[in-house]
C-alpha cells in the first residue's frame, strides 16, 4: 500500500465516559475510501447503533481529513459526521479554520469521540497524547469568543492548533448549536454543538506540527504550482473580493433572494446589506483557512458608543457571509446594516446556526403577525426589521425562559407542529433552507440531499443556468440524475478533503494527478465510481435509520412564492424524490 495511506490511517479514539484514548491503524478504511466523508461514514456505521439517542453517550462525533489535507491549496476542510439532534438522522457538517491541518499534522486521519463525560471537560490532543481537562471555569460563559481567548492563552501551539468549542447554546442542547473553530469558522449545521454539549465537552483542541516526507518532490512541486495558480485564478476571485456576500445583489435581481420568510424573492433593502456595501463601509479584515490563498472570510468592524458615556467606544468584529445575510437579514426584513451585524454577532456569541435561527425567527414573526401566537409567547414584539428585538429573541432561544422558546430551540418544524403555521415553517426533513429560491432543482436537492444543504449538490446554480440559458426544465428523471450526479462527485472532493469553493479547480483530471504525485494509482473513472459508492453508502445509512423520502413535507410557502423559473410544482418535486427513493432502496452491496 502507498506510504501516504499509512501516514493517514491513524485513527484516534477518545472515550469521554472512561477518559481513555487509543490509536488504531485503519488502513482498511483509508485505502478503500480515501479519507474524509468516505471514511467517516464507515466509522459512523461502526460506532453509532441504530436507534441511538443523538444526545446520548452512544452518539459519536467523528472528524476526518483526507489524503490532500495540508498538501495542496484549498484542501482545508474537516468533515464531521454524527447523528443530528435536529432531525435524528446521520448528519454531516464541514468546518475550516486550522482544524484540518492541525488534525493531519498531529498525525491523525480521523478523530472519533465516543461516550459522555460526567463533568464539563475540554480535551487537548497533540502528537503524543490526549489530555482531559476540567472545563468548570469555562462552562456557562456568555460569549464563545471569550472561551476561545482563554484557551488560546492557556495552551501552547499558537499558529498550528485548532480550538474548536461550543457556546452556551451547545451546553443547553439547542438542537442547532454550532461547533466553532478559530472564532469565525463553524461546523454550523445539524447541531454538532449540542452533541458536544450532551457529552459535556466544551472544547476540542488539536495541536499538530508533524511533517511528512513526500514520495516524489519533483512531481509534487509541478502539481502544486499548477493548483496554486488555479486556486488564485478567476474561479475563486469572487470569494476573495466580496466573499460569498457577492451573491446578495445578483440573487435579488433574479428574484431569488429569500425575503420575509420566503414570501418574496426580492428585498427592497438588498443593496444596503450587499457584499458591495459591506465591503465599502464595514470590511475590516480578510482571513483564510490554513492552506487557502483565497481568504474568503470577511470580517466587519462595528464601532459602537456606550449609551451611558459620550466618546466611550468599543469596536467589535463580525464575520459575514451570504447565508447569515439572507437568514438574519432579508429573511427578517432587516436592511439596517449595523443592526444586521449586531444580530449576527449575537448569534455568533451564543454559538447557534445562523440559518436555522433566522428561519425560526421568521416563522415566529409571521405566526405573531397572523395571530397564531401572541406576545405572551414571544415576550418581545417580533416585527420585520426590528433587529433589537430579534437580538433579545436570540438570547431567549438559548436561555429558554418559557415553553415557546423551548420549542424554538428544537427547530422550526417542531415549533410549528406545536403552535401551528406549518405551511410557512420552512424546512425539509426538519432542516431549515439555505438562502436561495432559485427554482425547483434547488428545492428538490434540499429534499433529497444527504444534509438537506445547498452544498450537497449546488443545484441553485443549475437553476440559475437554466434561467440564463432560457432552456426548459429537464424531466424529473433528468433533474434527479443531475442532482445525484453532482452530489456523487462531491463525495470525492469531500473525501480528499477539498473546500467546495475550489470545486471547479479540482476536476477529475487534476485530482488524479494530485493523488499520483503522492503515490496513489487511481484514475478519474475509478474516482467517479468511488463517489457513487460513497453516495450510496451514506444514503443507505440514512435509509436504515428510517428516513422515508416519500414522506418529506414540502411547505406550501415554497410552492406559492414564485422563483425565477416560476412556481415550483409539487408534482415535479415528488417525481424527483420518488426517483431518488427508488435508487436508494434498490441499491444493495452488490450494486455498489
Amino acid at each position: 500500500m502507498v506510504d501516504w495511506v499509512k501516514s493517514l490511517s491513524r485513527v484516534l479514539y477518545i472515550d469521554l465516559s472512561r477518559k481513555l484514548f487509543w490509536v488504531e491503524n485503519r488502513e482498511d478504511l483509508f485505502s478503500k475510501w480515501l479519507g474524509g466523508i468516505g471514511v467517516a461514514i464507515q466509522l459512523y456505521r461502526e460506532e453509532v447503533p441504530k436507534g441511538a439517542d443523538p444526545l446520548g453517550p452512544e452518539n459519536t462525533a467523528i472528524f476526518a481529513v483526507g489524503p490532500l489535507t495540508g498538501v495542496y491549496p484549498m484542501a482545508s476542510k474537516v468533515v464531521a459526521v454524527f447523528k443530528s439532534p435536529l432531525n435524528g438522522f446521520v448528519a454531516e457538517s464541514h468546518g475550516g479554520g486550522r482544524a484540518a491541518t492541525a488534525i493531519r499534522f498531529a498525525g491523525y486521519g480521523a478523530i472519533v469521540i465516543k461516550g459522555a463525560s460526567d463533568m464539563p471537560i475540554y480535551v487537548v490532543v497533540d502528537e503524543e497524547k490526549v489530555r482531559f481537562r476540567d472545563a468548570g471555569a469555562l462552562w456557562g460563559m456568555r460569549s464563545s469568543e471569550t472561551v476561545g481567548r482563554v484557551l488560546r492563552e492557556a495552551l501552547p501551539g499558537a499558529g498550528y492548533r485548532t480550538i474548536m468549542r461550543i457556546g452556551r447554546a451547545g451546553e443547553r442542547l439547542i438542537r442547532y448549536a454550532t461547533l466553532t473553530a478559530e472564532t469565525y469558522r463553524h461546523f454550523g449545521r445539524m447541531g454538532l454543538g449540542a452533541v458536544f454539549g450532551s457529552k459535556k465537552l466544551k472544547a476540542l483542541v488539536v495541536i499538530g506540527k508533524k511533517g511528512f516526507k513526500l514520495p516524489d518532490i519533483k512531481a509534487y512541486r509541478e502539481v502544486y504550482r499548477e493548483l496554486y495558480e488555479l486556486t488564485r485564478g478567476p474561479s475563486t476571485r469572487k470569494y476573495h473580493d466580496l466573499g460569498t456576500a457577492a451573491n446578495v445583489v445578483p440573487l435579488d435581481k433574479l428574484g431569488a433572494l429569500p425575503t420575509r420568510n420566503f414570501s418574496s424573492g426580492r428585498f427592497e433593502g438588498a443593496r444596503e446589506i450587499s457584499g458591495e456595501k459591506l465591503a465599502e463601509e464595514n470590511l475590516a479584515r480578510r482571513l483564510a483557512c490554513t492552506a487557502c490563498p483565497v481568504a474568503c472570510i470577511h470580517l466587519a468592524a462595528i464601532r459602537e458608543e456606550y449609551e451611558d458615556e459620550k466618546y466611550f467606544y468599543k469596536t467589535e468584529f463580525v464575520p459575514y457571509d451570504h447565508e447569515p445575510i439572507y437568514s438574519l437579514g432579508s429573511n427578517l426584513g432587516i436592511s439596517d446594516r449595523y443592526g444586521l451585524l449586531k444580530l449576527i454577532k449575537a448569534v455568533e456569541d451564543e454559538g447557534i446556526d445562523a440559518i436555522t435561527t433566522g428561519v425560526v425567527l421568521a416563522w415566529a414573526t409571521e405566526a405573531l403577525e397572523k395571530g397564531i401566537i401572541s406576545i405572551k409567547e414571544t415576550l418581545v414584539e417580533l416585527r420585520w426589521g426590528n433587529w433589537r428585538n430579534y437580538i433579545k429573541a436570540v438570547n431567549y432561544i438559548v436561555l429558554q425562559p418559557n415553553e415557546f422558546y423551548k420549542s424554538l430551540g428544537l427547530g422550526v418544524e417542531e415549533a410549528a407542529s406545536r403552535y401551528g403555521g406549518l405551511e410557512f415553517a420552512l424546512a425539509y426533513n426538519k432542516v431549515e433552507p439555505a438562502g436561495y429560491h432559485t427554482g425547483p432543482l434547488f428545492h428538490a436537492s434540499l429534499a433529497i440531499g444527504f444534509r438537506h444543504s445547498h452544498l450537497d449538490s449546488g443545484a441553485y446554480s443549475i437553476d440559475q443556468n437554466l434561467v440564463a440559458s432560457g432552456a426548459s426544465l429537464p424531466s424529473p428523471e433528468d433533474a434527479a440524475k443531475l442532482i445525484i450526479g453532482e452530489e456523487s462527485w462531491r463525495q470525492v472532493l469531500n473525501s480528499l478533503v477539498i473546500c467546495l469553493f475550489a470545486r471547479s479547480v479540482y476536476t477529475g483530471k487534476i485530482v488524479e494527478k494530485a493523488l499520483k504525485a503522492l503515490g496513489y494509482d487511481i484514475d478519474e473513472l475509478t474516482l467517479v465510481n468511488l463517489g457513487k459508492r460513497i453516495y450510496l453508502e451514506k444514503h443507505r445509512t440514512k435509509a436504515l435509520e428510517g428516513f422515508k423520502p416519500d414522506q418529506v413535507r414540502i411547505p406550501r410557502r415554497f410552492l406559492e412564492t414564485p422563483t425565477p423559473l416560476g412556481q415550483v410544482s409539487e408534482e415535479y418535486l415528488r417525481k424527483i424524490i420518488a426517483y431518488y427513493s427508488k435508487l436508494v432502496s434498490e441499491s444493495t452491496e452488490s450494486t455498489l
Partner: protein, 133 residues
C-alpha cells in the same frame, strides 16, 4: 546579496502557504521544517504576526552557539553547519524575535537561508526579497 523581509504583516490572511513552501524545500509537507512562523496577534481579528529571520549583521544566535555551528552569512544572518551542531538549542533562546525555529525530528535549528522560495507562494504580497548592501 538578498534578504527576506516582511513588507506588511497587515496584508497577511493567515493562509500559511509561505510556511508550507518553506517545508517543501526539504521534500516535506507540514510545519516542522519551516523557517517561517505565522500566528495570530492575539485573536485572528487582530491580524497575524509573521516571524522571519531579519538577517542581523551581528546575530545573537551565532554568538550563543558554543560550537561555532553558525557562521556569519554574507548580507546578514547565519549559515548552519549541521555536522558541527550538537542541538543544544541556545540559538533558539538567543533570538528575541523567535526567528530560529526548531526541527524536532533532527533536533537541530531551522535557519532561514533567505532563498525567497516562500515569496513565490505568498498570495498577498506580505513577503519580499530585498537587495542588501
Amino acid at each position: 546579496m538578498k534578504r527576506l523581509v516582511v513588507v506588511d504583516s497587515n496584508r497577511c490572511v493567515g493562509c500559511d502557504l509561505c510556511v508550507y513552501a518553506c517545508t517543501n524545500r526539504y521534500g516535506h509537507i507540514g510545519i516542522s521544517k519551516s523557517a517561517i512562523h505565522v500566528r495570530s496577534a492575539g485573536g485572528v481579528e487582530r491580524g497575524f504576526v509573521v516571524i522571519v529571520c531579519r538577517a542581523c549583521k551581528d546575530p545573537p544566535c551565532a554568538r550563543a552557539c558554543p560550537v561555532n555551528a553558525l557562521t556569519l552569512r554574507q548580507g546578514g544572518g547565519v549559515v548552519l553547519n549541521p555536522s558541527k551542531c550538537i542541538g543544544c538549542g541556545f540559538c533558539v533562546n538567543a533570538c528575541d524575535i523567535g526567528a530560529v525555529m526548531w526541527d524536532s525530528e533532527f533536533m537541530k535549528p531551522v535557519i532561514c537561508t533567505h532563498c525567497g522560495y516562500c515569496v513565490t507562494f505568498c498570495p498577498h504580497n506580505v513577503l519580499s526579497l530585498e537587495e542588501v548592501g
